[in-house]
């Protein structure tokens, strides 16, 4: 049963990710990415990271992708102008090489069957995350605020025309 769920949502995530690349209009790509993020958050639930799954939807699907969709609508982009690109040939090397990489990874991991992911549930509850985040990872947490500050200032500077 749980395997069926895994395969369904794994296929959904991978399919949506591929669809991001295939779509010509970038709005469809963004929507497809939202689907992929949702599928991934279901996988997080399978792995016991309930809190993260919800946070992933709030931040990624509910905020980051909203920003993307807004910008796409704001600029009212024409359909992807893929035209005569000088990097056309990249496709013919990149995809086979990528598949080869994938083969290597799969072959390596296939032999490491020992560890089983979801045998006994290990739940990332908000309490556990809070305990760890605000004691062991205090410094990264505070530095995060600086990162947000810098991003805010940077974005305001770039986006406002007349300062």
């Amino acid at each position: 049963m749980i395997q069926i769920l895994f395969f369904f949502f794994a296929a959904l995530a991978a399919g949506a990710a591929i669809n991001v690349l295939v779509q010509k209009h970038v709005l469809y790509s963004a929507l497809s990415l939202i689907l992929m993020l949702t599928a991934t958050s279901v996988l997080f639930i399978l792995l016991g990271a309930d809190f993260l799954a919800v946070i992933q939807i709030i931040v990624y699907a509910g905020a980051i992708m909203v920003l993307f969709v807004f910008v796409i609508m704001l600029l009212n982009l024409p359909v992807d102008e893929d035209g005569a690109d000088r990097l056309r040939w990249l496709k013919f090397i990149g995809i086979p090489l990528g598949l080869f990489f994938l083969f290597l990874v799969t072959a390596t991991l296939w032999n490491v069957q020992a560890g089983t992911g979801t045998q006994s549930r290990f739940v990332g509850s908000p309490q556990a995350i809070g305990q760890s985040l605000f004691t062991d990872y205090l410094l990264p947490f505070e530095v995060t605020s600086l990162l947000i500050l810098i991003a805010l200032v940077g974005a305001v500077v770039f986006a406002k025309k007349d300062l």
């Binding site: 749980i2 639930i45 399978l46 016991g48 309930d50 809190f51 946070i55 709030i58 931040v59 509910g62 905020a63 980051i64 909203v66 920003l67 807004f70 910008v71 609508m73 704001l74 600029l75 009212n76 549930r121 739940v123 908000p126 309490q127 995350i129 809070g130 305990q131 985040l133 605000f134 205090l138 947490f141 505070e142 995060t144 605020s145 600086l146 947000i148 500050l149 991003a151 805010l152 200032v153 974005a155 305001v156 986006a159 406002k160 025309k161 300062l163």
Partner: protein, 119 residues
């Protein structure tokens, strides 16, 4: 714990089914007599001028961007709030520092007029 999520999945299937069925129903039962006037975009009876998809003010970007960055802050506040009893005053000061730094950015955005809607 996974068991607590199974009902959500069932509920989702039910709701999605409901949505799809009502789409199909309205497609099946409604009459279909389209004509050019009926299918044209609504412009109070006028002929539409130009494309509907105009470019929007950069304000909308700024709002979404500010929302995103403050949402991140809110996301940090949740795990903080649920363990607050154990952190006590220490927790208060760490969050004070965090909020003050972000507030600096907020004040900057305010001073630069990113929060003004009129301009």
């Amino acid at each position: 714990m996974l068991e607590t999520w199974v009902p959500v999945l069932i509920f989702f299937i039910l709701v999605a089914g409901f949505g799809t069925v009502s789409l199909v129903l309205s497609y099946a039962f409604g009459p279909k007599k389209p004509d050019a006037r009926k299918l044209s975009p609504y412009e109070c009876g006028m002929r539409p001028i130009g494309s509907a998809r105009e470019r929007f003010s950069v304000k909308f970007y700024l709002v979404a961007m500010l929302f995103l960055l403050f949402d991140i802050e809110a996301v940090f506040l949740f795990p903080w709030a649920v363990v607050y009893r154990d952190l006590k005053l220490f927790g208060f000061f760490e969050m004070l520092l965090f909020i003050v730094v972000i507030l600096a950015g907020y004040i900057y955005a305010w001073k630069k007029g990113a929060l003004e809607w009129e301009r």
